[in-house]
Amino acid sequence: MTIRHHLTDQLLMAYSAGELPEAFSLVVATHISRCDECRARLASFDAVGGAVLTQCDAAPMASGSLAATMAMIRSRAIEGVGPPRERPAPVSGLFPAPLRDYVGGDLDRVQWRAVGGGVRQAILRTEGPGSVRLLRIPAGVAVPDHGHRGLELTQVLQGAFHDGEDRFGPGDIDVADESTHHTPVAEDGPDCICLAATDAPLRFRSLLPRIAQPFLRI
């Protein structure tokens, strides 16, 4: 899979700093699971965190702190929390591990709900600001025309869409904000399946999706 659309530095740094809401973190983690370029870029931002930690003012530990930690280590070892030495079994399937955790399995476990026009969605449960959902769009169907408020991330898992300017295929991520006005249309072929997070309700411009909006919960 050749990935052409990547995460922004801002998103990577915010994720590295631990400041992204859960809904966005899930999309970022899903993208990085399949993109070594962004994995390496994230690691370089983590290295900045390592440098900040190193140069941070030290706060003296309480007396007996090391002994207390060793005691904790020994008690955990007895409980069998010790390291599994083998590498985890490779998993195949459409969804990378972080997404599988939220769905409770792979594509066959998704609880789709029809939202009109042949489009189906499944909202995933997250805490905090923003929301994240899986979208399944049949070939040739447009994702309802919308303008954005705030940030929207769309990770392609299967199939592809065109937004009028660019093609987004498997592994690609579309990072959109207020300035983006696009009409993504699913390409011919298998259904386009995306993971999409937004931190603001979508404003639909055409009539039908506006009626559908309460049902979409977006």
């Binding site: 922004t8 801002q10 998103l11 740094m13 915010a14 590295s16 700093a17 631990g18 400041e19 809401p21 859960e22 966005f24 973190s25 899930l26 970022v28 983690a29 990085i32 699971s33 070594d36 370029e37 994995r39 390496a40 690691a43 370089s44 983590d46 290295a47 900045v48 965190g49 390592g50 440098a51 900040v52 930690l53 190193t54 140069q55 941070c56 003012d57 030290a58 706060a59 003296p60 530990m61 702190s65 090391l66 207390a68 930690t69 060793m70 904790m72 280590i73 955990r76 010790g82 390291p83 030495r85 083998e86 590498r87 985890p88 490779p90 990378p96 591990a97 955790d101 997250t126 940030l151």
Partner: protein, 187 residues
């Protein structure tokens, strides 16, 4: 401008290897003396009270012991690895939020990291540390505030002024080697 920080990075990496292979308590004590007070300071700077920060710092160091086999010196310095554990502890315990993590690469003892890769990465990490220290105060403070959790995601400015390209390329190379080793093993 060498200041011995390269050899120190290497020393910490050796300590983690000794914890992993030999359950070496003296090596762990060296790591503890260096990192635990910094983790505590980091967490207090991130808004934790002293008691919570102390408890979390101990817990992070216990995780260092138990997860020593997951540390890959070709992809991170010990400080970077410890930072990621401390950050996750902050999100989990202090913020009480869930953090989805990328799929693990399935790092295992079969694929020993290339020594030259590991050395180069430790050198790059030391260089990055010096670059951070050399930034103008205002710029450095902004980066620190981002990592202490003082800034929201929309307030974070990704333009750090730090030379991240070289360290990224190093890590990318190590990832490519790891993927290659994995595909050899699982044709």
């Amino acid at each position: 401008m060498a200041d011995g920080s390269e050899s120190r990075e290497q020393e910490w990496a050796d300590c983690v290897a000794r914890v992993r292979d030999l359950r070496d308590e003296a090596a762990f004590a060296s790591l503890f003396d260096h990192f635990a007070p910094r983790i505590k300071g980091f967490l207090m700077r991130s808004g934790a009270d002293a008691a919570t920060a102390e408890e979390c710092a101990q817990d992070v160091m216990a995780t260092v012991w138990h997860k020593a086999h997951l540390f890959d010196p070709a992809r991170a310095s010990v400080a970077t690895w410890v930072f990621t554990i401390a950050r996750n502890r902050r999100i989990d315990t202090i913020r009480r939020q869930r953090r989805p993590e990328p799929e693990d690469l399935g790092w295992g003892p079969e694929a020993e990291p290339d020594q030259a890769d590991a050395l180069a990465l430790q050198q790059e990490s030391a260089r990055l540390g010096r670059a951070l220290a050399a930034l103008p105060d205002k710029q450095r403070t902004l980066i620190e505030r981002a990592y202490f959790g003082d800034l929201s995601h929309s307030e974070i400015a990704a333009e750090t002024g730090l030379p991240l390209g070289t360290i990224k390329s190093r890590i990318r190379l190590a990832l490519d080697r790891l993927r290659h080793a994995m595909s050899q093993e699982r044709p």
